[in-house]
């Protein structure tokens, strides 16, 4: 019995650990998408942040310097996206994909140039990482708590503040915001910057908390999973959090089931379980969650004079 309890506890702890970058990333993406800026570049921002977190931490020896560098890196990418999509009214999906490609390429190039480890950063030890706070073996990192806190915070900002009201409005009907005398670009830039902040934290978590260093393409599609979580959650913070937990749980189970023989089935191919989140995404999006209602103006550049 004790075994079962501890198994459940460990699986839940693992779920939370795995879900942390998804949650942070999804909350960031939520701000951006609520404002009408589609962000398929979550992945790239997170990857860039992960690289700078590990690189800075390795060089300075301070995990907190790493976190700061991660945020700055993600913000630079976010501003790039904003510049392309808000100021120049570019195609948001194209810009997002470009950001992913830039991040995938640059992190490897810089990593190889600076550390000569085939794109990896040196392994981080001691204060170079963010370590568990209270429970030594559960990985209850400060960023895990930050992720948990980010959900009610996001909900409160979106639902209860002036900024949130305007954010929701600008994603639905930017003209209404403009005619109410509020700047559409400035509002959207703030949303994109918030997105950068959260993806920065997500990236830092990956390379200096969950892992001990950066390795190439270490985000492994988690930015896209976060995006899928936003859609499942119908652009609402708590349901989105729930979706992140489901993906996290599937991942945690996948790790648990590695090499385990299931009676009657035999060894479950680990690839199948690893593919579950992606299969689930396709399944759910194909209609199980009902119609997902995106902010109406998402993806549409705002043009005033034509």
């Amino acid at each position: 019995m004790d075994d079962l309890l501890s198994l459940v506890f460990l699986t839940l702890a693992a779920t939370l650990r795995v879900a942390t970058p998804l949650v942070l990333c999804a909350m960031g993406g939520l701000f951006s998408e609520k404002s009408g800026i589609i962000d398929v570049g979550l992945e790239g921002k997170m990857l860039m942040a992960a690289f700078f977190a590990a690189a800075t931490s390795a060089v300075t020896g301070s995990a907190w310097a790493g976190v700061a560098a991660a945020i700055i890196a993600a913000e630079v990418m976010a501003l790039l996206h904003g510049f392309a999509c808000i100021t120049h009214r570019g195609n948001q999906v194209v810009s997002g994909i470009a950001i992913n490609i830039i991040a995938a390429g640059l992190t490897v190039v810089w990593g190889t140039a600076w550390f000569n480890r085939g794109g990896q950063t040196p392994p981080l030890v001691g204060d170079q990482r963010l370590l568990p706070l209270l429970l030594p073996n559960a990985g209850d990192n400060i960023l895990v708590y930050a992720a948990l806190l980010s959900v009610p915070l996001t909900w409160w900002i979106v639902e209860r503040t002036r900024f949130g009201l305007r954010l929701r409005a600008v994603g639905e009907m930017p003209l209404a915001v403009d005619t109410a005398g509020i700047s559409v670009p400035w509002l959207r830039y703030r949303a994109v910057l918030l997105c950068g902040l959260f993806t920065g934290l997500a990236g830092a978590y990956l390379s200096i908390a969950q892992n001990a260093g950066f390795s190439r393409d270490m985000t492994a599609g988690q930015g896209f999973i976060a995006l899928a979580a936003i859609i499942f959650g119908k652009w609402r913070p708590f349901p989105t959090f729930g979706a992140c937990l489901i993906f996290g749980l599937l991942d945690a189970i996948a790790i648990r089931l590695q090499g385990v023989r299931v009676p009657g089935v035999g060894e479950v191919p680990v690839q199948l379980i690893q593919a579950l989140p992606y299969l689930l995404t396709v399944f759910l999006l194909a209609g199980f969650i009902g119609r997902a209602v995106a902010p109406r103006a998402a993806g549409v550049p705002y043009e005033k004079e034509h």
């Binding site: 002036r162 009907m173 005398g181």
Partner: protein, 515 residues
């Protein structure tokens, strides 16, 4: 005038690229009165008001509010000077409640709770003072168009505006809703609000305003007290020549039924019933008009009648050919049967904006001689055909090689109409024949439709403009919520009855249901 006018514009200029939209406009809007600005589509009315509201920046000129020169850099400045605007297309967030829309941009602090409570109290006060009641917690998407417009007006008053600009406010309203709007405007005026009404409907200018400015081609061409003018004079000033507002036509001599629909129903993928047992008949030599507020199934009906869409149930007979679930059709076959369709959205369905006028003029007939020989288009023949149509339908400029999008709305419409009428169809479906078309062209298009009726064509006209239906149609059907509410012979039709039917009331009180 002793007191300074509420608004004074002098020498306002505005160009978009090489289009000179506003050319040196000067005018004065009197305080506490209703001033109308009337002009055809494209005369520059909306551009002028957008400048006043700070949405566009004027290239030159001065704006004075209460005698003080002001800079209008953004709507924010306009709001600060007490100007509020009710746009033709509502600036409301559909997913928000009335209250949330009201406070947007005037939240009263970084947290919402306090602002929303204050707004609720203020809304009650405004509702009492001006007789503008709406449910503060209703979602915009659930409100009728008239109610949404009231929210727009409340939004403006909530911001403390003393000057209210309304841009084509009646475009989406039934006649009853329009009357109600005008009563609200009269109340506002009594309370000292200055109102500017932009419209192209002369009847509304005559009914609601104290003073009227007429715009033509970006300039103010006349300035009249409403009491001292009449619709004929205003129409002439708008167009720049004499216009006949009344359409002359002889009584219809209707023949055999060329188009008949029986129990047509259409249910979309969400299970919404868009058409509900529609029956209609159109005979040779008559014009049947379908009236109704837009979005009540007229578009879907046209799509089915023209073969673009299949009905869920019911049948259709076009010149003896039966069409139902077992005998489907397509637009090409309908065309071959002698049915022509002038779609209501000419930019998306009637033409390809990037094509030359000559290409637009053969769309749908491109595979037929003389335009096409051995799978190749005969350019010169296409060009000649277009030139002929342009002459006959007075399309300006006479330039077959010009891109379709470079023609004005009226000329585009004439081109599409010319294309469809050139084949002398036996059945002609016309959706919104004069949407976005100027008065001069309206007159022409109406005459052409009557002419083709007199030649024995069965004409079905769908229009949201009641005036148009009243002057064109021999029989009028009214649509509401996908149903035909009833039929009224043109001779006995009046706006009141039709308006009630457009709002879902049956002519006979016993038949009112589910509306």
């Amino acid at each position: 005038m002793a007191a300074a006018p509420a608004i004074e514009l002098s020498g306002i200029q505005k160009s978009f690229g090489n289009v000179h939209a506003v050319r040196g406009v000067s005018l004065a809007i009197a305080k506490g009165a209703i001033t109308g600005i009337v002009g055809e589509n494209g005369a520059g009315k909306s551009t002028l008001m957008s400048i006043l509201y700070g949405l566009y920046r004027a290239d030159a000129g001065e704006v004075r509010i209460d005698g003080q020169p002001v800079r209008m850099e953004s709507p924010h400045d306009a709001i600060a000077h007490g100007i509020g605007m009710v746009h033709q297309h509502f600036m409301l967030v559909d997913t928000f409640t009335v209250l949330e829309n009201l406070v947007l941009g005037a939240e009263g602090g970084p947290l919402l709770a306090g602002g929303l409570a204050a707004a609720r109290a203020e809304l009650e006060r405004l509702a009492r003072e001006y007789g503008l009641s709406v449910d503060p917690d209703a979602r915009i998407a659930d409100l009728s168009v008239g109610e949404q417009q009231r929210v727009e007006i409340l939004k403006v008053l909530f911001r403390g505006a003393r000057i209210l600009i309304l841009d084509e406010p009646s475009a989406v309203l039934t006649p009853q809703e329009t009357d109600r709007l005008f009563r609200i405007l009269a109340t506002l005026k009594e309370r000292g609000v200055t109102i500017v009404l932009i419209t192209h409907k002369l009847r509304e200018i005559m009914a609601a305003t104290d003073h009227v400015y007429v715009m033509r081609q970006g300039q103010i061409v006349a300035d009249r007290r409403t009491a001292e003018t009449n619709p004929e004079e205003l129409a002439e000033l708008m167009v720049g020549r004499k216009v006949r507002l009344q359409l002359d036509k002889i009584a219809a001599t209707s023949g055999e039924v060329l188009l008949a629909a029986e129990k047509l129903s259409l249910v979309d993928h969400r299970g919404v019933r868009l058409l509900d047992n529609v029956d209609l008949e159109v005979r040779a030599g008559e014009i049947v008009g379908i009236a109704g507020v837009s979005g009540n199934g007229q578009s879907e009906l046209l799509q089915i009648l023209s073969g673009i869409r299949r009905p869920t149930s019911g049948r259709l007979t076009v010149r003896g050919r039966l069409i139902d679930a077992h005998h489907p059709t397509d637009p090409a076959e309908m065309r071959a049967l002698g049915l022509a369709h002038v779609p209501e959205d000419r930019l998306r369905q009637g033409m390809v904006a990037a094509f030359q006028a000559s290409e637009t003029a053969i769309l749908g007939y491109q595979a037929e001689p003389p335009f096409c020989r051995n799978y190749l288009l005969d350019g010169p023949a296409v060009g000649r055909h277009c030139a002929t149509l342009m002459d006959r339908f007075d399309v300006r400029p006479r330039a077959p090689a010009l891109r379709s999008s470079n023609f004005s709305g009226g000329n585009q419409q004439k081109l599409v109409l010319a294309r469809e009428m050139a084949r002398e169809p036996k059945v002609l479906l016309v959706g919104q024949p004069t949407r976005g078309v100027d008065i001069g062209a309206i007159e022409f298009i109406h005459r052409e439709l009557v002419k083709s009726r007199d030649n024995g064509c069965a004409v079905l006209v769908v229009s949201v403009e009641l005036d148009e239906i009243l002057s064109l149609a021999d029989r009028i059907l009214v649509m509401f919520a996908g149903r035909i509410m009833g039929e009224v012979p043109a001779g006995r039709a009046d706006e009141r009855t039709l308006g009630l039917m457009m709002a879902g009331a049956h002519p006979a009180p016993s038949a009112v249901e589910g509306a």
